[in-house]
């Protein structure tokens, strides 16, 4: 076998791009055997890390784009290696050297985000069109909370109901909240994971100026992705906001008796733990408390739940990328929900919702399984 020398320049490049976590890896293989990709194809993150360490990474390999940043590996890694940071760093290098390494659909989403603040080339001004006839105020300083819906409920016709339901629930609970509409843009979380640090920075700074201009101090979000980036990344850019996920806030309202359920919902539901709510932020009990409080509802866990839950495939920017049929985690989760006898697959993340809805349609199981956000369930029981 021909011997090759490690290429220090490449490993230094990856290190400087933020991937120096590879130093700590002691090649135990736990990331690879834990990664959901190995349920549908072969994917070896530990090998990729070794390649990064020796500077022998094939940067053009499409495998670097597979990671959905579900954190299954990180939650188990005994050395605390930030594996997703390594993936991100290589993507960032690829973005810089050869922008067209990213998939066309991702590039299109990024272009739209840059120009319109949303990934679908929709008008910036239409960002609050979801409210329609709801009596919602624009945020002003005296209000308690800003409701930040996420681009998906804001624009996607299938999921506008999530934003509407969330707003309705907050109103019913007497929360004084407002929205920013076109003053805000996408939180940027997905493009940071896709390696586009420059675009991410501009989206963040623009949001932070909007928050400061309007005096936003506390934000409530529908998406765990928005939640995570507001909590972890935004402070580094100077943001001084406190963020709640809808499930945290609603669970608290229920505890304080400010949310009462008057209607029954006699359905069997399976609750799916979104990666960015569960593994990333440890929020497992609040959604279950909410569902458990709804009269008549039979709530089941997935076969692998909580810390072990399977990713829907939407994180890491993959929501903007094509996934081959037969390799879609959301297909597997929908099948599982059906086999558990569920009427509804409930979750608390817009990316999960998009993926599950897509899977139900492709499997033609629309008359067997409904897919709903937890806010919809809550609203229907008020």
């Amino acid at each position: 076998m021909e011997a090759i020398a490690p290429i220090k320049e490449v490993s230094d490049l990856i290190r400087d791009a933020g991937g120096d976590a590879f130093k700590l890896c002691f090649q135990c293989g736990l990331c690879t055997v834990s990664c959901p990709w190995n349920c549908v194809r072969s994917f070896s993150p530990h090998q990729m890390i070794s390649q990064a360490k020796f500077g022998l990474a094939d940067i053009e390999d499409e495998a670097w784009w597979l990671c959905s940043t579900c954190n299954m590996c990180i939650s188990r890694c005994p050395r605390g290696v930030s594996i997703t940071d390594i993936m991100r760093s290589v993507r960032a290098i690829m973005m810089e050297y050869q922008y067209n390494m990213a998939q066309p659909s991702l590039r299109s989403a990024m272009g739209s985000l840059r120009g319109n603040g949303n990934p679908w080339l929709e008008d910036r001004e239409k960002r609050s069109a979801w409210k329609q006839d709801l009596q919602l105020e624009d945020f002003h300083q005296d209000m308690d909370l800003l409701y930040f819906p996420c681009c998906v409920p804001a624009y996607d016709p299938k999921l506008r109901s999530v934003a509407r339901a969330s707003a309705a629930i907050l109103q019913a609970a007497g929360v004084r909240f407002g929205i920013l509409g076109s003053k805000e843009n996408c939180c940027g979380e997905s493009v940071r994971k896709a390696g586009n640090d420059e675009l991410f920075e501009s989206l963040v700074k623009s949001n932070i100026s909007a928050f400061e201009a309007e005096g936003v101090r506390e934000v409530i979000v529908s998406s765990p992705h928005c939640y995570t980036t507001f909590k972890e990344d935004y402070p580094g850019f100077g943001a001084q906001i406190k963020v709640f996920h809808m499930t945290q806030y609603l669970a608290d309202l229920i505890d304080r008796g400010r949310l009462k359920f008057r209607k029954e919902l006699r359905k069997k539901v399976v609750y799916h733990d979104p990666c960015y709510l569960g593994r990333h932020n440890g929020i497992y009990d609040e959604p279950r408390k909410i569902l458990g409080s709804i009269p008549g509802l039979e709530v089941m866990d997935e076969i692998d739940s909580r810390e072990n839950s399977l990713c829907c495939g939407g994180g890491g920017g993959r929501i903007w990328m094509e996934t081959k049929k037969g390799e879609r985690f959301s297909d597997m989760l929908v099948d599982q929900a059906i086999s558990l006898g569920a009427d509804i697959l409930v979750t608390a993340c817009p990316y999960c919702l998009l993926n599950f809805m897509d899977s139900v349609v492709t499997a033609d199981k629309g008359d067997v399984l409904e897919v709903k956000d937890i806010s919809i369930i809550v609203q229907s029981a008020l």
Binding site: A3, P6, L24, F26, S50
Partner: protein, 1028 residues
């Protein structure tokens, strides 16, 4: 006298010190410390919060690497503790606080209400039979049930039943109380209250042990969710003959015998997400043990161990690992595991693991064992806080470099796992070490608080016809419910020589013993037969009774009609009773032939010979000299210090050079230590307590004779100079120790080095030396960290087979990785290549190795190369071993008496070993072992006289042909053919009465007193004759 040079010792107040020691925690470490301290002349309080002593080791099935039954090697130590008049065993007790100073502590204890009076309970277990409530059995890790009132485990000491107060119907709800009247000795009393007591001691030894990691905290293991996933401690109970399945391996869900099993390593260890970053040091080895034992039970078993590194670093470990590797059906796979799912019908657990570096495979197993780590529970930390003892960042006891046994509080010492995760030999070694500190601190109070029982003078029974008394025990109901004891008593009365026979409910109870003594005197009995339980636990009790009655203690014969009869023949009353009559008849026949056996006493020479003046030799010498013992320290080189002179630092940052210099100063300053440098040992003769040796001393080689009571072998080891990787041929290739010296003495040489490669396992773990040299992985990392200080941009590669940075050394492995040191694993079958290359005007060493994850050959052009070479036995070992008649093991290191429980003793009494002579180890470990050797030596030197004799070998000179077979066979060097006399002579001080020589004697010249041929053949005839 307290020596102010001893680290961390505070000045002694003017109050007189107390000659007593408290040992907190009665696992194997606590037990060993207690025994050494008691045998060195001090009173000991052995305290444990559990109802019985034994700790974790009592729960193990077998121990690695000898596969000894854990309880078999441990329970004799229980008995020693129980019967030693100077040890008070205080169970169900905890320490509240310790006030005072070293030498004069006042300890406040809380004693939980036990509700069972230990003075009256005989452990007969009748109460358990009647108790109506079952609870999960904590001794069996909740895998089986036990009654609320129960004996903690069959061999428990004290053999006193304990009550689970939260489930006891009376204690929780005022209902029941069945056990009270049922107990024939009225031992149960529900009025017991919690009590406090205060004890005065001079020193405290902390050995509170560990708790196994609870894997339920980590969802990835599915523990509790999937039925066929167990922890390693649960698995020990499943394997154990005293476990819930009586030793038949079955899996929990359906009792099926597993055909395919997986062990998952590093559960709760080396794991940031589990909250424990350190290595638990024993799990690799215990998993290998469990695989070997499981394969013995189920030969067709498919066994898989999923591991990160395999840390088989200790003496004999690598061979044990090899044995497992070579067992068909056993696979070691370098991969951590993901537990995927459970099959609801078959109960099989599917696991995903890596294959061949970068592939993956899913496999289904019948049973999965999680090799859980050793944690320091909150209760340990709370105890340390209450006692003002500091703990480290991992929650274990904090100690200083070169002082692994002293805690932050003077007079308080630590041993066992509370110090750091460690195996049994290291725990036992450290326990003896702790004992030596206590002994040294309290040296001037030695013997002040010990009790010597006094007995009436022995009656001479010579010439009397046998007058046998037979005592047949009911053992509560244990015996009498199966055997018709009254019938046996009547029968016994009719046997020849028997003048008294009686039934006793509990022969071992205090009032029974008092009656026995009175009966012996009244009836003028001169032989006693006790038909009861096992002599293993109870013979000393009855022998003591005989002495109280003025009889020679060897005039008793016990026969076991419980373990050998009633317990194994339940439901067969007639046959069992007939068998009991046979057993009693045999015992009486022997009793008639018993002779009184005398012990001689001889004085102990209060001096020690220490062979080897390195770190270990000097530490032992100082420990003994400070207790008033004269020490003769013999060193073959011109200077003291041994290999310690070359080591610069320890990885924890201790300055080894300064430490060695300090030791040398202290040795020369101590007037009781005679130092002989450039000296050799010519001859050692004599026996324990009475040695006479000759040395050739100094340059002029004058011959000196030394009298000493004990010998400590501390002759060290050497660094291999290998013939590999251009060593010795290229100046750029050095050993790790040479590199260490160079970095300290000439750091500038290395500043311009841009690429450095280290190759591990050079000369170790191969066919020539199938052992691990233990220190080299850590040594490489220590050197790498120093190199990074010299030049932070240096590329450092360490090529290893397993990284064996066990215990807290794992922290440094992590630190090296954080600093950018690159680790590459290589296979024994695919070793790296090294070539000296000149290319483009540059000269370097090209190292090529196959990287297993990439599956490619990597090439590093190194400026320098360092080799992790083997630590090899000292060249002088084989001639020394002949001189001392002390065996070497397969790898030519000195062989200890027992690998697990006597790691410091030679098989021959009076000889001890310390340091590298025993095997490769770190400086701290050598220091601990050197202190242990001093403690073990002290248990002999502290005695004014040694008793020899009893049930030992005797030689019939007329039959002996002087063939010498017995001398060859004896494991204790206790018999030798005297050249002048031409016959074998028994060294009474050393003979254990094991009988090996008797069986080997072709002339029938040998016999064991107390187990003579006449007596034994007589018993066989007694069985043959006679009606039932």
């Amino acid at each position: 006298m307290l020596n102010s040079d001893t680290l961390n010792q505070a000045p002694v107040p003017t109050m007189r010190k107390v000659g007593a020691v408290l040992v907190a925690g009665a696992g194997v470490s606590g037990i060993q410390a207690a025994l050494d301290v008691a045998n060195s002349g001090f009173k000991v309080y052995l305290v444990d919060k559990e109802p019985a002593i034994g700790g974790r080791m009592s729960q193990l099935d077998k121990t690695f690497p000898t596969n000894d039954c854990s309880m078999c090697i441990l329970s004799p130590k229980f008995i020693e503790c129980a019967t030693n008049p100077n040890i008070s065993v205080l169970t169900e007790s905890e320490i509240d606080r310790i006030d005072g100073e070293a030498g004069t502590f006042e300890v406040t204890l809380t004693h939980k209400p036990r509700y069972v009076n230990p003075e009256k309970c005989t452990g007969c277990r009748t109460c358990s039979e009647y108790c109506p409530v079952q609870v999960l059995d904590p001794y069996n890790e909740n895998l089986g049930t036990v009654k609320v009132i129960h004996l903690p485990f069959p061999q428990a000491v004290p053999a006193v039943s304990t009550i689970d107060p939260s489930h006891c119907l009376f204690l929780s709800r005022q209902a029941c109380q069945i056990c009270v009247p049922v107990c024939r000795n009225k031992a149960i009393d529900f009025h017991h209250q919690q009590e406090k007591s205060k004890i005065d001691v001079g020193s405290v030894i902390l050995s509170p042990g560990y708790e196994a990691f609870a894997p339920g905290r980590q969802a990835q293991y599915r523990y509790g969710a999937f039925r066929n996933i167990v922890t390693s401690l649960e698995f020990e109970r499943l394997l154990s003959a005293s476990g819930p399945n009586r030793g038949v391996l079955r899996r929990p869900s359906d009792g099926k015998r597993p055909q395919k099993m997986a062990w998952i390593q590093c559960v709760g260890s080396r794991d940031t997400t589990a909250g424990h970053k350190y290595c638990s040091a024993v799990c690799c080895m215990y998993a290998i043990k469990q695989v070997i034992l499981s394969k013995e039970q189920i030969p067709g078993l498919d066994a898989v161990i999923l591991h990160n590194d395999i840390r088989a670093y200790g003496k004999g470990f690598e061979r044990y690992y090899e044995r497992a590797r070579n067992t068909p059906g056993v696979r070691f796979i370098w991969s951590k595991a993901s537990i995927l799912r459970e099959n609801p019908e078959t109960g099989e657990v599917t696991i995903r693991h890596r294959v061949n570096g970068f592939g993956i495979k899913d496999e289904a197993f019948d049973l999965v064992v999680l090799s859980v780590g050793l944690t320091s529970p909150d209760s340990n930390r709370q105890l340390a806080d209450r006692l003002h003892v500091e703990t480290n960042s991992h929650g274990f006891c904090e100690t200083q470099p070169f002082s692994p046994i002293e805690t932050s509080r003077p007079g308080v010492y630590v041993c066992g796992v509370f110090r750091a995760p460690m195996d049994i030999p290291d725990s036992v070694t450290m326990a003896s070490g702790a004992a030596s500190f206590a002994s040294e601190l309290l040296s001037d109070q030695r013997g002040t608080l010990v009790t010597e029982t006094s007995y009436p003078p022995e009656r001479n029974v010579g010439g009397e016809p046998p007058r046998v008394g037979v005592f047949v025990c009911d053992c509560g109901t244990n015996i009498v419910k199966v055997v018709d004891v009254a019938n046996v008593v009547t029968y016994a009365r009719g046997l020849s020589g028997v003048v008294h026979a009686q039934e006793e409910t509990f022969s071992c109870s205090i009032d029974s013993i008092t009656r026995m003594v009175a009966t012996i005197k009244e009836k003028g009995l001169n032989r006693v037969v006790v038909a009861a339980c096992t002599p293993r636990t109870h013979e000393p009790v009855f022998q003591d009774a005989l002495r109280q009655a003025g009889m020679n203690p060897h005039l008793i014969e016990m026969t076991n009609i419980r373990e050998h009869c009633s317990w194994v023949h339940t439901g067969e009353r007639e046959a069992a009773t007939a068998k009991t009559r046979d057993l009693v008849r045999m015992a009486v026949s022997k009793a008639r032939l018993l002779d009184p056996l005398q012990r001689l006493s001889y004085a102990v020479t209060g001096a020690a010979l220490v062979i080897g003046g390195g770190i270990s030799g000097m530490v032992s010498a100082l420990a003994l000299a400070r207790q008033g013992i004269r020490v003769h320290l013999v060193e073959k080189e011109e200077w003291l210090g041994g290999l310690g002179r070359r080591i610069r630092s320890s990885i924890e940052g201790g300055n080894v050079r300064a430490y060695v210099r300090k030791l040398i100063r202290e040795v020369y300053a101590n007037l009781l230590i005679m130092v002989y440098t450039e000296s050799d040992l010519i001859e050692v003769s004599g026996y324990v307590g009475n040695f006479s040796s000759r040395i050739r001393a100094g340059k002029r080689g004058a011959v000196k004779t030394i009298s000493h009571g004990v010998t400590i072998v501390a002759t060290g080891a050497e660094e291999l100079k290998p013939d590999a990787y251009l060593f010795g041929k290229d100046r750029r290739v050095a050993t790790l120790l040479e590199l260490e010296e160079e970095m300290e003495d000439h750091p500038d040489n290395l500043r311009d080095c841009s690429t450095f490669v280290m190759i591990q396992c050079v000369g170790s773990r191969d066919t020539e030396r199938p052992y691990c040299s233990r220190i080299c992985c850590t040594h490489a990392i220590k050197n790498a960290l120093t190199l990074k200080k010299i030049n932070p941009y240096m590329e450092i590669y360490i090529l290893y087979r397993d990284m064996r940075t066990y215990g807290f050394r794992e922290d440094y492995y992590r630190e090296a990785a954080e600093k950018g040191v690159i680790f590459i694993r290589y296979d024994a079958d695919d070793k790296p290549d090294v070539e000296a290359v000149e290319e483009n005007g540059r000269s370097f060493l090209r190292v090529t190795v196959t990287e297993p994850v990439l599956g490619r050959r990597l090439m590093m052009d190194a400026d320098r190369l360092a080799l992790g070479v083997a630590t090899v036995p000292s060249a002088g070992n084989s001639s020394l071993s002949q001189l001392l008649k002390a065996p070497l093991n397969e790898d030519s290191f000195f062989m200890e008496a027992h690998m697990k429980l006597r790691p410091v003793d030679f098989p021959t009494d009076g000889f001890f070993m310390a340091g590298l002579a025993h095997g490769p180890k770190f400086v701290d470990e050598s220091i601990a072992q050197a202190r242990a050797a001093a403690s073990r030596a002290m248990t002999i030197l502290a005695k004014k006289e040694i008793m020899a004799g009893g049930t030992i070998c005797s030689v019939d000179g007329k039959k002996c042909t002087g063939c010498g077979v017995c001398q060859e066979i004896c494991a204790f060097n206790a018999i030798e053919v005297d050249a002048m006399a031409g016959v074998a002579i028994v060294q009474k001080a050393l003979c254990k009465g094991c009988g090996l020589c008797v069986a080997s004697c072709r002339s029938g010249a040998l016999d064991i007193l107390g187990f003579s041929e006449e007596q034994t053949l007589g018993m066989i005839e007694a069985i043959m004759e006679g009606a039932h």
